[in-house]
Amino acid sequence: MTGAIEVARAGALTTVQDAGRIGWAHLGVPRAGALDAPSHRLANRLAGNPADAALLETTATGCAVRPDRPVVAVVGGAPCRVTVDGRPVAWGTPVHVPAGAVLDAGPAVQGLRSYLAFGGGLLPEPVLGSRSADLLSGLGPAPLRDGDVLPLGHGGSLPAAPDTVPWPGAPAELVLPVRLGPRHTWFTDQALRTLTTATYRVSPHSNRIGLRTEGPALTRAHEGELPSEGMVLGAIQVPPDGRPVVFLNDHPTTGGYPVVGVVDETALAGAAQAVPGTRVRFVSAG
């Protein structure tokens, strides 16, 4: 049975996300997609969906929705208090939400981004093969507002959930394995030592485009302007202020500031859950 969910409380920033928009970077289209990819896949699996189905990604303050049909829902990612019509229900495992009841995912207790998967998945119109919101270029569904209605796909009954599920936790300290390049030679040897020995902190100016950091500035060995070049997910771009920015899913596909190194993709789920002020260490990935 298809249906819809109505947004009762949109929260600070809640977006629809799936596995992203792959294959359009040459046209300037960011990949988008869930920032904490393992949590996205796991929430979908527990809701009985294909791993790449569209769901909701919240930021810090959670969100609340009201389905117009009975639905299986999973709230995972950042741990939070979950209620159905005010009654506490389990986080991180499938729950049954009756038609017309309000499923509320509260503020994140740890971490930053919770994921709300619904049996049947969310079905806003895809753009270039993806239902993800891309905040850099404004493709896909806009961030949720109170009263928005999103279509739901066909959903089945409560799937059998395993007894225990290993949800990745929010890191107390974010350790990011880095491979130098492509433009590490634009920096002084001292700057490269600083990058892998100093402690940075997650800046409150971080967003889906990039994890901004506060800490010692990286000094350039080579001034001058870099002709625009393609940028990868996890690239550590160094703008003129010298503070590393780790590119997340909504990053621009080309850029003109040098990239000192690239963070391994597997570490980016942790970056998605690191609250402002979290210590960040860049370590050599070998």
């Binding site: 792959i22 294959g23 359009w24 970077a25 040459h26 046209l27 300037g28 289209v29 753009v127 270039l128 270029s137 404004g138 493709l139 491979r179 130098l180 390049g181 492509p182 433009r183 002709p227 625009s228 070049e229 393609g230 940028m231 990868v232 996890g234 690239a235 621009p252 596909t253 080309t254 850029g255 990239v259 690239v262 963070v263 391994d264 993709e265 990935a285």
Partner: protein, 212 residues
């Protein structure tokens, strides 16, 4: 050949022209099934990025890198494909500055610009934005000393070696010489293809009458 993380290579070429030729060769070989699987091929000003190399074994990128440097890349062919025509009105706020920098009259700027054949060297900045090359080096323009906080959608602008049309409003430091009356044509995800301008495409600007 510069590494860009575990699954990507940034290929640096000696010039923009070489980068365009190398990109064209990559697309030809991919179309013929002669290229190992990569997720994205992203041309830049002097580079081409191969991202999401499927072979993630420690030697995968290195093997591809060795293969790429062994290629003989034919020079860029200038005569392929139908040119995309973009109607524009040459009435931008920086026309006078551009005319002064070029050492010509204001009326000469549209004549020179519309008489130039451009090519999309690469895209980026925003979906639908193409970096177009074609103006000879003595007509290259520096960016404005102070960027504008808001450049309207459709602004036709110059910076460095490039000409571009803004698909949506944004801040920008390029020199604005005109506007495309219907910039929605640049990017329309409901259309196939979504982007009017894709890397390698030929482009001509057609001066439209100024309507009161």
């Amino acid at each position: 050949m510069l590494p860009a993380g575990a699954g990507a290579l940034l290929v640096e070429l000696p010039s923009g022209e070489h980068a365009e030729a190398f990109h064209a060769e990559l697309l030809r070989r991919r179309a013929r099934g002669e290229l190992p699987a990569v997720r994205e091929i992203v041309p830049g000003a002097r580079t081409v990025l191969l991202d999401g190399i499927a072979d993630r074994t420690p030697d995968g990128s290195a093997r591809l890198a060795r293969e790429l440097v062994s290629w003989k890349v034919p020079p860029l062919r200038r005569d392929t494909g139908e040119a995309v025509e973009i109607p524009v009105v040459y009435d931008g706020p920086d026309l006078t500055d551009v005319a002064a920098a070029w050492g010509v009259t204001v009326a000469d700027v549209p004549r020179i610009h519309a008489g130039t054949e451009f090519r999309v060297a690469f895209c980026g900045f925003a979906p639908g934005f193409g970096y177009l090359t074609g103006l000879p080096e003595h007509l290259h323009m520096p960016r404005r000393a102070t960027p504008r906080t808001r450049v309207p959608a459709g602004a036709l602008a110059l910076a460095g070696a490039y000409t571009g049309v803004y698909p949506r409003p944004s801040p920008g430091g390029w020199q604005i010489i005109g506007r495309m009356p219907e910039p929605g044509e640049l990017w329309n995800p409901a259309r196939e293809p979504a982007a009017l301008l894709s890397p390698g495409a030929r482009v001509r600007f057609v001066a439209a009458e100024v309507r009161p």
